[in-house]
Structures are given as C-alpha cells and as structure tokens.
C-alpha cells in the first residue's frame, strides 16, 4: 500500500476504514488517505474492487440497508461521520451525490433544482429562484434551459439531465460532491461538458469521483486512488499514477496488463 500524504488543507480524512456488507462480507480493508479541499480525487480499479462501496461511505448511503457495518473513521471537518451524533439528512446535503444515470424527478426543471431548497425550508420565491438559477449557472446549464424552466425535466437530453441533477445537488450548497460514474451513460460531447464542469466546480467544492474510464480520471483529477479487492493499493497525485506509479499492480492496471 503506497499512500501519498496530501499537502495543503484537508477536507476529509479516512482512517483505518473497514466496511462489511450484511453477513460480515468485507467490502473495504484498512483504507487510509486524505482528500484535499477544492480538488478532484478519483478512484479507479477493476469491477468489484470497492470503488462505489468506498464512495458510498462518505455520505453513509450504506445505512439504507440494514446489516452493513463500518469500522474506523472518516473525519469530515473535524467530526467523525460514523459518530452516533452524526445527522444523516444534514450530512447528505453537505456531501451530495450524483449517480451513473441521470435521475431527474418527474417535475419541471425549476422544481427539480428547487426541491432540496424547499426541503431545507426555504419558501420565499425570490430566494428559491435566485438559488436555483445560481445552481443552474454553476452546472453550466442555465443558458440552455433559462427559457424553459417550467418544462418537464424529461424533455432534456441525457447530458442535460445529468447537469440538471448536478444543479439539484449544488443548490443546497454542499461542500463535497460524490460522483459515481457520472458520464458512463453519456455520449462523448456530453461527457466533455461534464468533465469541464467538474474541473470548474472544484473551485467551489471538493469532488470525489469513481470512474471506470481511466482516461477520465487522468484528465480531470488531481489525486487518484487505485483500489483492488477492497484495498487501496496506491494513492498519489494523478500525474504520478499515470506516469510513474510506485506499485506494480497499479502499473499493470493503468497500462491494461491486468491479471
């Protein structure tokens, strides 16, 4: 295990993290690394290596299924995510998540973005409008939808829907966004837009992304972790991972000579 220490301000620190699925099936083994604030951290690895499992620890998505168990700590701004006091609703608005397939709600474009804001108790129309438009602007969608905010979200293309979902997540002003294969269902043009969006977004939030597309990790991330069989094999600056990886397994994986 070769884990490079992150310099600068740290958003999230993962310490001795183990994760077990129902029935004591080990999903993650002794994971240690830090996430740098305002950076993109990518996780790569073969199918079933634990990328998504790891990502879902950050906003405790695993809690949705009983019997799953965490060990160790994830420190987010000084607090352990696994402590009994952790408020999951609040946590999930501070650490948002975007999935592989766009998941717009069956409602208008505007209502999709305003949904989280309303849940947070914001009622004032002008405030909702202002925050929703800001989120749409930040997700690089505003120009394309500003004349049809009341149209159904389903009228948008797949790439636009994905940016809408990102806008919805951004509206509640999270500090971290988790992306699970956000472009694997999109065409190259839409993928390019999402990728440049992520690079732009890291100025205001911290991003953790899981991707099967190694070139995508290479293009957009600052840090890359390589996972295999639930273990973090190597974690380092992205340019290091893709030019001079320290570990033979990492080299074999990134050069396509795995197994």
């Amino acid at each position: 295990m070769e884990v490079q220490e992150v310099k600068g301000s740290i958003e999230i620190e993962v310490k001795k993290l183990n994760f077990f699925y129902t029935g004591n099936i080990m999903g993650l083994k002794n994971i240690n690394f830090s996430v740098q604030k305002n950076s993109v951290t990518a996780f790569i690895g073969p199918s079933g290596c634990g990328k998504t499992t790891l990502l879902r620890c950050f906003n405790r998505m695993h809690d949705l299924y009983p019997g799953n168990r965490y060990e160790g700590e994830i420190i987010f701004q000084g607090e352990n995510l696994f402590s009994k006091e952790a408020d999951l609703i609040n946590l999930r608005s501070r650490i948002g998540m975007v999935f592989q397939k766009p998941t717009p709600f069956p409602m208008s474009i505007f209502d999709n973005v305003a949904y989280g804001l309303k849940l947070k108790g914001i009622k004032k129309k002008s405030e909702l409008k202002e925050k929703a438009e800001k989120a749409l602007y930040n997700s690089a969608l505003l120009d394309e939808v500003k004349d049809k905010l009341n149209k159904s979200a389903y009228e948008l293309s797949g790439g636009q829907q994905q940016r809408l979902v990102i806008a919805r997540a951004l509206a509640v002003e999270p500090e971290v966004l988790l992306f699970d294969e956000p472009t694997s269902a999109l065409d190259p043009i839409s993928t390019g837009k999402i990728e440049s969006l992520l690079v732009e977004l890291k100025k205001i939030i911290t991003i953790i992304i899981v991707t099967h597309n190694m070139q995508q990790a290479a293009r957009i991330s600052d840090w890359t972790g390589f996972l295999m069989l639930g273990e973090l094999i190597e974690f380092d600056r992205t340019e290091k991972i893709f030019t001079i990886p320290s570990n033979k397994l990492t080299e074999d994986y990134v050069t396509g000579r795995f197994g």
């Binding site: 030019t243 990492t250 990134v254 050069t255 396509g256 000579r257």
Partner: protein
C-alpha cells in the same frame, strides 16, 4: 498481453534498426577519413536519407500509438523515450554525414598528420551509442549511467585534439584549412557522444521515472 504490446514492439524494432544504421554510418564515415576513400564517404552521405526516413516512420508510429492507445505509465515513458531517441539518432546520422563531407574535403590535400586520437574518439562514441541503445532495449539504467559517465572521456579527447591542432596552425598557416576541418570532425564526434548521453538520460527516465537531464553541474 495488452493490445498495445505489438505496436510497442514495432517501435522498439525500428529504434534498433535505426541505431544499427547510425552506428554503421559513424564507422564508415571515419573509415572513409582514415582510408582517404571518397567513394565510401559518398556512400555515407547517400545513406543518410534512409536514416531520415526511419526517423519519420518512428514518429508516425509513436503519434499513432498515442492517439489510438492513450498510453500511460511505463508505456508513455517508453514512447516519449523512443521519440526522443529517434531525434537524437537522426542528428547523429547527420553528424556522420558531416564527417564524410569533411573527409572528402580533406582527401583533396595531402594528410596533415597521422590520425591517432580521432579513431579512438570515434570508437568511444560508437561504443557509447551501442551501449545506450542496449540499455534502451534491456531497460538497463545501470548501463545508461555508464554511458553518461563515458562522456567526459570523449570531451577530454576533443580538447586534446583541439590543442594539438592549434599548434599545427601556429606553426604554418598553410595547415589551417586542414586543421580546422579535422577540428570539425573532432567536434562532430564530441556532439555524437552528447547525443548518446541524451539517449542514456532518456533511458533512465524510461526505467526509473527520474529526469536526469540538465542536472549536471
């Protein structure tokens, strides 16, 4: 085996082939000088074009590889190294051609002096080239380091040849044309050794990921 492996092998074979041709060019150019053989010199000049063609082919192959395979880690280090080696080999080929041109000019006049250090220098530079390409093929950083260390020997020989030729020029101004031409040859050989040093430095980058270029001094 990854899909890229076949293509990498093609590049490696091209480099080996080009290296072989360049080595022969140095040998033949020096032989044409020592034996006062204009025909051999002309042959070296003519054959330089074949080296240039290989340079183009290697570049084309590498660009294709980058575009189609998005190489990373050791693959991208191998390809960037191969591209730089091809450039250095092409330059060495040009220098061998330059030696052949000076040989033809020198052959027009009686010999200034017997060549003693020039063949030693040429053999040293040729050996450095051979070792640097061997290091590339075998991914041998230690051998590459040995090549880099040999460069001082060539530099010293060049200084020595230069000093000696200055004395000939001071002695009799009619020696100047020939002495300058021989100095050129010595300088070309010194440059060849520098290019092989570049190759060796790239091999170290390829094997160990360390940039050792421009670190001397």
């Amino acid at each position: 085996m990854a899909a890229i492996d076949e293509e990498l092998k093609v590049v490696k074979n091209y480099i080996v082939e080009m290296g072989f041709m360049v080595e022969r060019a140095i040998e033949n150019a020096i032989a044409s000088l020592l034996n006062r053989d204009n025909e051999a010199a002309k042959e070296v000049i003519k054959k330089d074009n074949e080296i240039n063609i290989l340079d183009n082919e290697i570049e084309e192959e590498c660009v294709k590889l980058i575009a189609l395979h998005s190489p990373v880690a050791k693959d991208v280090r191998f390809i960037t190294t191969a591209m730089k080696i091809a450039t250095d080999l092409e330059r060495i080929g040009d220098l061998a051609q330059d030696i052949a041109e000076r040989a033809i000019e020198l052959n027009e006049e009686p010999p200034l002096k017997p060549y003693i250090d020039i063949p030693r220098m040429a053999e040293g530079a040729r050996l450095m080239l051979n070792d640097s390409l061997d290091a590339f093929v075998k991914k041998d950083a230690e051998l590459a380091n040995k090549v880099i260390d040999s460069d001082d020997f060539i530099d010293n020989l060049h200084q020595q040849i230069f000093r000696e030729l200055i004395t000939y020029m001071m002695e009799d101004s009619r020696n100047i044309t020939r002495a300058v031409r021989i100095t050129y040859v010595s300088k070309y050989l010194e440059r060849i050794a520098d290019h092989t040093t570049n190759i060796a430095e790239m091999v170290i980058f390829m094997v160990e990921g360390k940039v050792v270029r421009h670190l001397k001094n």
